[in-house]
Structure formats: structure tokens, C-alpha cells
Symmetry: C2
Amino acid sequence: MSHDEREPTPRFEPWKRRAGRPIDQRRHELFEQAAPVFRRHGYRGATIKQLAHACHLSPAGLYHYFGSKQEFATYPLNRPRLDWESTHVDRNVDPLVQLRELIDLSIRELPTYVLALQLASEVDLRPDHVLRARAFGEGESVFGRILMSVDPAMKHGTAVEMARHLLALLAGSAFTGLDPAANAAVRSRMLEVLRRSLVPAVIDADRFDRTMAADPA
Amino acid sequence: MSHDEREPTPRFEPWKRRAGRPIDQRRHELFEQAAPVFRRHGYRGATIKQLAHACHLSPAGLYHYFGSKQEFATYPLNRPRLDWESTHVDRNVDPLVQLRELIDLSIRELPTYVLALQLASEVDLRPDHVLRARAFGEGESVFGRILMSVDPAMKHGTAVEMARHLLALLAGSAFTGLDPAANAAVRSRMLEVLRRSLVPAVIDADRFDRTMAADPA
């Protein structure tokens, strides 16, 4: 496969080896569907009836997936997660393309995790920093693993630090409220950090810029 | 003044021109003193009696400084703030030293602003992103202004973006919970971003590293 052409990667699946549990994928989708209800009413205010309605399910149908409202509200923090070993790097796809996909995936999914953290702060007794480390720990593993595929000479500690730097930018750019277009701003900051580390020693400038260009959405 | 020796800058005062209001400095100190009470009990749980006690004041004494508990709890977000014009850059101090002091000041003060944001989310009707932009907007101005003193050729837009990048790292590194030593981690990330932008075009590597070295605390 040539690395010289932009590849769309329709099936970017770093979680491929997550021991085939389609029910977990379904639970994640249900959380996304119910997110507007949780956002509007908060943990305590959201009723099972409203949540089920948003998921096009009956309350009994929702209980098939989650044992309780608390389990539902904190699902993104507690679902099976990837670690360094279980992250699937696809050998048939340019690692740089996988890195781009991961950046875009992390930007899309950030609001889900921020919401789950807010809900958890109402009902989960674990300290905030423990919950946050759980929420972002998976990102650290997946970013770190893919960074080491992009640059096989990168040391583990370097990859971890770069992953943490990228995730801090991701979380912080949304947090400060300073960017009118936060998603575009964080994307360009993450790319700037990567570019300065990888170009030209690991990747030539032209290939980096071409591969990392945003999808014309 | 030589720029070649490490200067301690005992009086780093970017807020010098904030129109001499010692009462505002006193209010800021009172918020810091009451912070542990607000942290433990939250906005609603903290009583005026407890807050005044933490400030070594009577409740009446506390009301001399703040008209209400809400005014007290959200003071860091509402106090007079610096903007681009009012930031004082000291002509007698190496701008790089002022930048280092600002980095350390921002790391020290972050918990104060995060607390004020949490308290405000209970009582201030403005949306979270508006409050956060207020909290971090002053940092954007002060960082931007001092960055342009470090590199007089830097464009305004570049300085704003670099300030936002630094503040995103600051807020995000604390948020993700991934760093066991978050303060040291964010400091080294901020310096890395600055170093890659300023060295060697604006500042030689040796001077940068010597000036930005952490205080032996």
C-alpha cells in the first residue's frame, strides 16, 4: 500500500480486539442518544422514562442494557477499556492516517466523556481526579501505541508524555472557553505539536501535511 | 541590566497599572483564605460564619469586603481584570524572566480559578463557557502581551494563539488527571512549546534554558 495517497480509513478500529462484545458498542450508542437528556436535566433530574424515550426504548428495554440510572450515566467511564496491549494498530493502514483518525475521534468523543464526568461527580464516590484519569487513560494508551507505530524508534516514555500533552490540549482547549471554534483550534494545536516532533526526522513535511489535512466536511 | 544572569524578580507585577486598589488585592487574599472552606462544603454548604472564621474576620468584617456570599464565591471571575493595554511589562526586567514568572504564577493560581468556576456553576446564571472565557481571558492578555515583549517581531494573532495554547495546556493538564505531578508536567509542556517557537530564532538555547529553569524550591 502506498503512503502517498490520502486514505479514507473507513474502518479505523483501535478497539478491534476488545473481545467482541457488540453489547458494549450498543451501550455506548445508547449513552450518546441519551446525552441531550442528561445535559438538560442533570443526573438527578433525568428520569428513566425520558432517557428510554431518547433511546427509542421502553424503560424495561433500557434496563436490559443498564442495571441502574447510575450505571447508565457513568457508562463511558466504566465500560471495558483499551490498554497499551489491547489497542489494535492496523498493519494495513498507514499509522499516520490512524493517528489522524484518532485525533478526530478524540475531538468528537470529548463531549461524551466530559458529560459522563459531570454526571459521575453527582453519584460516583471516587475522587474527581481518579475518574478523570480513568476517562483519559484509554486515550493515553491508544495515542501512545499509535505514536509508537508512527515512529517505531520512539521510546515508551516519550510516547506517554506526547499522548498526555495531546490530551491536555484536547481537554484544556474545550475548558478555557477562549476559542470560538474550539474543535478546529484544538486540532491545529495537536497537529502543531506532532509536526514539530515528527517533521522532518520521522516524516517529511509534505507527507505530514497531506495526510493530516482535515476531511473536507 | 544584563540578561545573562538569573534574575529573581521579587516584584513581578503585570497588574501594576490596575489603578491602585489595594482593596482588590485584599479581596483576592480573602478568597484564597476561604478557599478550603468552599472546597470542603461547596457554595451552599459554606456558611458566612465559617468563611469569616477562615479569614480571621467577623461576619460583619467580611461583609465590609463582599456584599454577599455569591459575590465572595465568584470574586476571582468578577474582579477588575487586566486586558492587553493595561498589562504592565516592566522595562527594567528581562521579558523572558517575566514570562517565566507568569508561567509559575498561572500554575499557582489555577486552583483558585477552577474553584471559583465550580462555585459559580452553582449560582451564576451565565453559561459555563462564558464564565471560563472570563476566567482565562486575563491570562490570554497577559501572556500575549509578555510574549510580544519577548519577541517584538511576533504578530498579535500569533501571540494570542500561543497564549491560548499555553492556557489550554495549563487547564487541561490539571483536568485529565493523568499526571502524578501535574504542576511539573504542565510547566515542562509550556516550556517545550515556547522553546520550539523561540529557540534559536529569537533566543539562543543556552539563555532560554538558564532563564526558564525552575526555582530550586
